[in-house]
């Protein structure tokens, strides 16, 4: 696998991640990690990998925070809460 290909791939993955695809960023990290130390690898790749890692973590944090809010607040939101919920939870 040529360094340029890696660069191109991780670049694509990195920009693709902005389509609400943090998992793609994670994927990018998994993808580049094994070869992060290749001498002929352009430093950009490492930057992309780093950024992807950070961004994916951020995204996941954001969504888990949202989920926490939802779980705790949905009952107070009334109809909105119900429409947001996929399967209404019985008994609570």
């Amino acid at each position: 696998m040529k360094a340029e290909e890696i660069l191109a791939a991780s670049k694509k993955l990195f920009f693709g991640g902005f389509a609400l695809l943090p998992m793609l960023w994670l994927y990018n990290v998994l993808y580049v990690w094994p070869v992060r130390n290749r001498a002929d690898l352009s430093p950009q790749v490492r930057h992309y990998m780093l950024l992807s890692g950070i961004l994916s973590v951020v995204m996941f944090v954001v969504f888990s925070v949202w989920f926490g809010i939802f779980v705790n607040q949905r009952l107070n939101w009334g109809t909105t809460g119900d429409t947001l919920t996929v399967v209404l939870v019985k008994g609570v």
Partner: protein
Amino acid sequence: MNVVCYLASAQDTYDTIYNDIGSLPCVRLLNATGFVGCQSMGAASGVLYRADTLEDIKQFANDDRLGNQYTVVIPYWLLSSSNVDILKSSKRLAAILAVVNGTDPAHAVAARPSTVISPDTTCPNCEFGLYANTPNQYQWNPTGSGLLFEQFDFPIYALNTMDTRNTMSYASVMQAVNRNRDKGYRDYPLKSLQFHSFMWGAQDTGACLRKGWCTPVGGASVWSTPSTNISYTDEKPIVVITAAMDSRSLFHDLTLGVESSVAGMVTVLAVAEALSRSTIPLDTMSKHIVYTLFTGEAWGFSGSQRFVQDITSSPIQCETPPTSGSGCAYPFFSDLEFQRLNPAKIEAILEVGQIAGMGGAGGNPTLYAHVDNIQESVSTTLLNQVVQIGANGSTTVPPAGIPVQAASSDGVKRGLPPSSSMSFLKSRGNIPTVVLTDFQKQMSALTNHDQDDSWNTPNTINLIQQAASVISKTAWLQAQGVSDSAAMTPAQTEAIASIQVDAGLVQELLGCLSLNYSCPLVDRYLNVTASPSPPARLPHYSGTLYSQSQPFPIFAWSFLANMTSVKNTTSPTPRVTGCSSKPATVQCASKEYCVGDQCIVSLTRYHDAYGVGLAMNSKAEYYIKDASKPVWTESTWDPIGLRMFDVTSPGSQIAELMTGLALTLVSSGVVWYSRRFLKKTLKED
């Protein structure tokens, strides 16, 4: 090789492990602001523990040698908020089994405390009553504990030896709990009980209805009139004779309410029977007589309020007529005949409240006539009439010696006790109204009580008979337009004398409607004994709307239809009989009903009864229209049940786990070591 397989023989294994038990659950109900009743998210299970007295409960709470989770078996009368708090404080309460009736001495009737405490509030349904907005209204049920309005986050089930199945369950539970007690609750395996009591509904009626996990509490009221030609426009006034048909209690399967509702219902039915004897046909009188028996009264006067709301809002604009039958699809009405009643014309209301005489306040039984204290003047004449007739009756007709007093005879004007009349008076305050009860100051302590399941003959029967005769005569005089019995034509004197309440009928009705539904009387109308398992004691809980059959409304309908139908006196041709026994040959004409194997013409109708705060939209879904009015709904459940089984001690369970882990670790260690050993031997060789 040891297998217990799923389908093929799972059942017998299941039976060897588990013992299913007939269950009388306490369920969750919701109103505009929250929910009441019992709920357990998971399946609660606990070792059976027996507590017969308050001391036992305290000891359970303080005994630190006890283990994890317990199902406490207590007598019903120990089930109070304070005791429950004590039990919960122990942190090891899984569920409660309340024994309402039991053969064990600790649960026998003899063991019951002398003073019963009503589980209802200190003024039942008053927040929906006539005086809801008046400051410090009179509390009719001062001893009420409000247990019905508590929230329990654990299952509470009842045990009651009311029929063979429940007696068996009771027996097995008692046997198990006694064995546990003999083992000191420490010598495992102990008997444990598991409860499934998962209620879908949560928060309040609004949210629950939105999610479709609740059904309105309610049923069918019944109204009936002898004057089949009644119309909205004929200027004839109306005399309403009314009572409630349902009551409530913690365990809906046990709800009976002899005092709370049955006696009143019996009275009205007896009145209808007595008046049907009148030699002067009722439909020819100057006023209409209308009998109303309301369901859902225990739930904020749902039945009466809805009835009043509907008749006052008539004529109804039916937007979408029904595809078949009578009534209207939207706005929904199962029947529209009620539009023939003109609320403006209601000129007198005679209501029967609690008159079983089970108040516990001893003394010689007396009937009290309550009137509204706001517009007292309008009711004065009616009140006097009732009292006077009561006085006459006590002397002339049997039963002798049950006087009828004005409730305000002691000079205190308390107004009306919680009653259906309030619904009428709320819409129009100036209707002469008298509510006849057996109490003066304070409702019976058995109000909405699970143990309100008995009466004492002949006392109760006399009371009912007296009330019935008083009401029938008053209604008759009212209908005749005669203010004073002194000024009566001979015909009228002869006619009123013909109105006699049959004590035998009263007794029979009482028996049929409380303890044995498949009695000859009911059977004559509904042929219940034909069913494979004839019902005996049926709950008087109104149930949820349109969901289950309504035995008491159905019977009331048939009985009233029969009593109010056009009798031979006016129509010489005898009734056609055999419409139900020989349906092939005998068919009733249109507009005729087949009641008790007879084709009759009658104006007797059901009327939907559910909280007036609720309404049904065009998509046949219920929603809250007015949260200030009653909006009681019952939550949907998962299948409910109890099962009993052995459990091993927590200690031994831990031991088992430890054994397992140890075994695993050791064996893996051995494997690892032996592999290394083998390798070494190979290398050495």
